[in-house]
């Protein structure tokens, strides 16, 4: 479930047709890849001023990462019946004070590089946590 993201001059813009839970009005995100932090995906909302999310490929947090997407997810992404070619990003939460950085593996951002459509899937299985500690694996 990995595909090379575009490294073109400008950021790719992905449309999330239903927004994100808690941000239903945020449907378009520009996906930046900071050159000095290559594993980071920086999603900037084009619908709400000054809102961004930090994310990483979910497989960099836990591998293998095999989310079971619903039919509704696949239909929204216009991905046919296959997950091939889709990318799964995990939103990171950076606590303001002390505390672990966590990754949301329960509700990954699934993006389709072909159609430029995204959707935050909410996985039915409890296999993955919505606040998976990051960086603790080898700490």
């Amino acid at each position: 479930m990995t595909v090379e993201a575009s490294h073109g001059p400008g950021p790719d813009v992905f449309t999330f047709p239903t927004g994100l839970p808690g941000f239903a009005d945020c449907r378009r995100f520009a996906v930046h890849r900071p050159p000095d932090c290559e594993w980071l995906y920086w999603l900037v909302s084009l619908d709400r001023p000054d809102l961004a999310f930090a994310a990483v490929l979910a497989e960099t947090v836990v591998a293998p990462y095999r989310p079971k997407l619903s039919r509704e997810d696949l239909m929204t992404l216009q991905a046919g019946s296959s997950q091939v070619g889709l990318m799964a990003l995990a939103i990171l939460t950076v606590p303001a004070g002390a505390g672990a950085v966590t990754a949301n593996l329960r509700a990954p951002l699934i993006i389709n590089p072909t159609t430029k459509i995204g959707r935050q899937a909410i996985l039915a299985s409890k296999q993955y946590s919505a606040s998976h500690p990051v960086g603790a694996a080898r700490a």
């Binding site: 947090v61 939103i91 949301n104 919505a130 960086g135 694996a137």
Partner: protein, 82 residues
């Protein structure tokens, strides 16, 4: 909100192809059965709320990219991300 009273083994129909049935009632717990097309996702409200809260906690200011990178680099120094 539409409020309906149903007994065990009774159901309601939503639209053309969604049916919600009362399977069992025990004390303050109600078991529901949902028959819906696979294109319709069904979640417990608590899970959806948890994801909402997680998203609200994860939102950053656009100007905060440098700070985020710094915080992440620090936190992830020993972590699996390279």
């Amino acid at each position: 909100m539409l409020v309906l009273t149903r007994k065990r083994n009774q159901s309601i129909v939503i639209g053309d192809d969604i049916e919600v049935a009362v399977i069992d009632i025990r004390g303050d717990q109600v078991r529901l059965g949902v028959a819906a097309p696979t294109r319709v996702s069904v979640h417990r409200r608590e899970l959806f709320s948890e994801i909402e809260r997680a998203n609200l906690a994860a939102g950053c200011r656009c100007s905060g990219l440098a700070a985020v990178i710094e915080a992440l680099s620090e936190a992830l120094r020993a972590g699996p991300i390279e």
